[in-house]
């Protein structure tokens, strides 16, 4: 009950600011919150990253082990992205097997990595048709203050950038850095009527969970789109979101490169 009233008040506040052309935290409509990246936190993982996007926090760990390739790509490594929205991260998350929200989150992050061909899977073959590197990207939510999806996508690519292939541990050669070709960035916008806010905070999300995510690759190409939420999207608004997302994605990629070059 109290939650509902609070949420109602927040919603009104967000909307009234919006009428004045402002966001409640003073950001520009197409501006991300501050991004802080810390790689290498989990020494037992092949790669890891703790990402703060505003107050939203996610840890991603990357583990690798030799395993069987898919029959139709016998000479390529395999990436498996998994997300756990553990109840520690939000009062609305429940323990138990992944629900539709965590499945969607994992699959959209997965598509960004897969379709941008971020990881050079052809260099992850150990023995064609028999043994390739299986890469587990495990997304572990810590604090959901809005837009867990983009934070997860950033943490995932940063953990991959941080990752070393543990070849020596499995007796198949020397360790080498995981070969990365691209840094896909997912950009989520909250749709409010005919306006949109990039990287919505939880308070902003009180207006409704109508979002669209555009994942962008290094040449400004779009590698994944996901409209999420029960709403109807205007075509011209979509085109506007598309333009702004590409620009915002570029900035985040620079930020990732800046912060990750220091550590990895």
């Amino acid at each position: 009950m109290t939650e509902d009233i609070l949420s109602e008040v927040k919603k009104d506040y967000v909307l009234s600011k919006l009428r004045e052309g402002e966001r409640i935290d003073g950001r520009k409509f197409d501006e991300f919150r501050k991004v802080e990246i810390k790689t290498g936190l989990i020494e037992k993982a092949e790669g890891s990253a703790l990402v703060k996007l505003g107050n939203t926090q996610v840890v991603v760990g990357v583990k690798m082990q030799p395993g069987e390739p898919f029959p139709d790509t016998p000479d390529k490594g395999v990436i498996i992205v998994n997300a756990e929205l553990v109840p520690l991260a939000s009062p609305t998350f429940e323990p138990g097997p992944p629900d539709e929200n965590s499945v969607e989150l994992a699959r959209v992050v997965d598509r960004g990595i897969r379709e941008s061909e971020a990881v050079d899977l052809s260099k992850l073959c150990i023995e064609e048709g028999k043994k390739v590197w299986i890469i587990f990207v495990d997304i572990h939510a810590l604090d959901d203050d809005g837009n867990l999806l983009d934070a997860s996508a950033i943490a995932s690519i940063c953990a991959l950038l941080d990752a070393k292939v543990p070849a020596s541990r499995f007796g198949v050669g020397e360790d080498f850095k995981l070969p990365i070709n691209d840094i896909p960035v997912s950009v989520t916008s909250l749709i409010i009527g005919e306006k949109f806010l990039i990287d919505p905070s939880r308070d902003e999300m009180s207006v409704g969970d109508k979002t669209i995510t555009i994942s962008v690759g290094r040449n400004d190409e779009v590698v994944a789109i996901q409209k999420s939420g029960d709403y109807l999207l205007n075509e011209s608004l979509f085109e506007e979101v598309l333009e702004k997302s590409i620009v915002a994605g570029r900035k985040i990629r620079e930020e990732i490169l800046r912060q990750c070059s220091k550590t990895c």
Binding site: D72, P98, E100, V103, E104, A106, R107, R111, R114, E115, S116, I212, G217, D220, E221, V222, V223, A224, I225, Q226, K227, S228, G229, D230, Y231, L232, L233, N234, E235, F238, E239, L242, E243, I246
Partner: protein
């Protein structure tokens, strides 16, 4: 399935279609007796059945919403619907498809008219080719009309793919597997016009210009499918009139 050398030869696709041509579509309204509304639909080799139950009382009670109907959508594949037998039960792919499809329908059903109730949309894929999610949405849309559920308009769904650098409408399996991008849409059509986008996904690699082109192509295809949906509904309506 092996990758063919080229997917488009002399401007024609592997199955002889032009880039902007749909696969053959067959629609049968009121296919089931038990459901409140139903539809059987073929779209290329896709064979899907949709059923609508409701509005009916939502239980367990804690899922009820006192202000509007709850909409559920269950996309399910028969074990024999794909090349290699699929274990029964939902996998991650069908959970995601069910979610985005549900959200598309929630946006067009007049939920406020039926507080505390539930509207169930069940779609079964008996045979899957590329585009089973779009076929299911098209079938479900007709089943909703058959069930008499008040909606803002018809949902019509179709995908566009990029293959060999060319945008093609309503991709088949080979184009989906070996193409450079796949982009499914669902549009709300009202008064014979496309009003807005209810479902939108994409994976692959496309420039923003290509995305805009894809949208145009999808809209063209959707209008054609919409006509077939309309005809099928009209035909069923006339049959009922005759039987009275």
């Amino acid at each position: 399935m092996h990758k063919p050398e080229r997917l488009i030869v002399d401007g024609k696709r592997l199955d002889g279609r032009k880039p902007d041509e749909l696969r053959p579509i067959r629609i049968e309204v009121d296919f089931l007796k038990r459901a409140d509304g139903s539809c059987y639909l073929e779209m290329g080799k896709n064979r899907v059945v949709a059923a609508v139950y409701g509005p009916r009382e939502a239980h367990p009670r804690h899922i009820q919403d006192p202000t509007k109907a709850v909409v559920r959508y269950r996309y399910n594949m028969a074990p024999f619907s794909v090349e290699e037998r699929k274990r029964p039960g939902p996998d991650r792919r069908s959970v995601e498809i069910s979610k985005v499809s549900k959200e598309a329908f929630e946006a067009v059903i007049m939920k406020e008219l039926f507080p505390r109730s539930v509207i169930d949309i069940f779609v079964e894929v008996l045979q899957a080719d590329a585009g089973s999610r779009t076929a299911c949405i098209n079938a479900a849309s007709v089943a909703l009309v058959d069930a008499g559920i008040p909606i803002k308009g018809i949902l019509t769904s179709v995908a566009v793919a990029k293959v060999d650098g060319t945008l093609v409408l309503d991709p088949m399996k080979e184009e989906d597997n070996f193409g450079e991008a796949d982009m499914p849409f669902a549009f709300l059509i009202r008064g014979g016009k496309i009003e807005s986008i209810a479902l939108l996904q994409m994976d692959g690699r496309m420039t923003k210009e290509e995305i805009k082109e894809a949208m145009k192509l999808a809209k063209k295809g959707a209008m054609e499918i919409y006509q077939l949906q309309r005809e099928a509904i009209m035909k069923r309506f006339l049959e009922e009139e005759e039987n009275d």
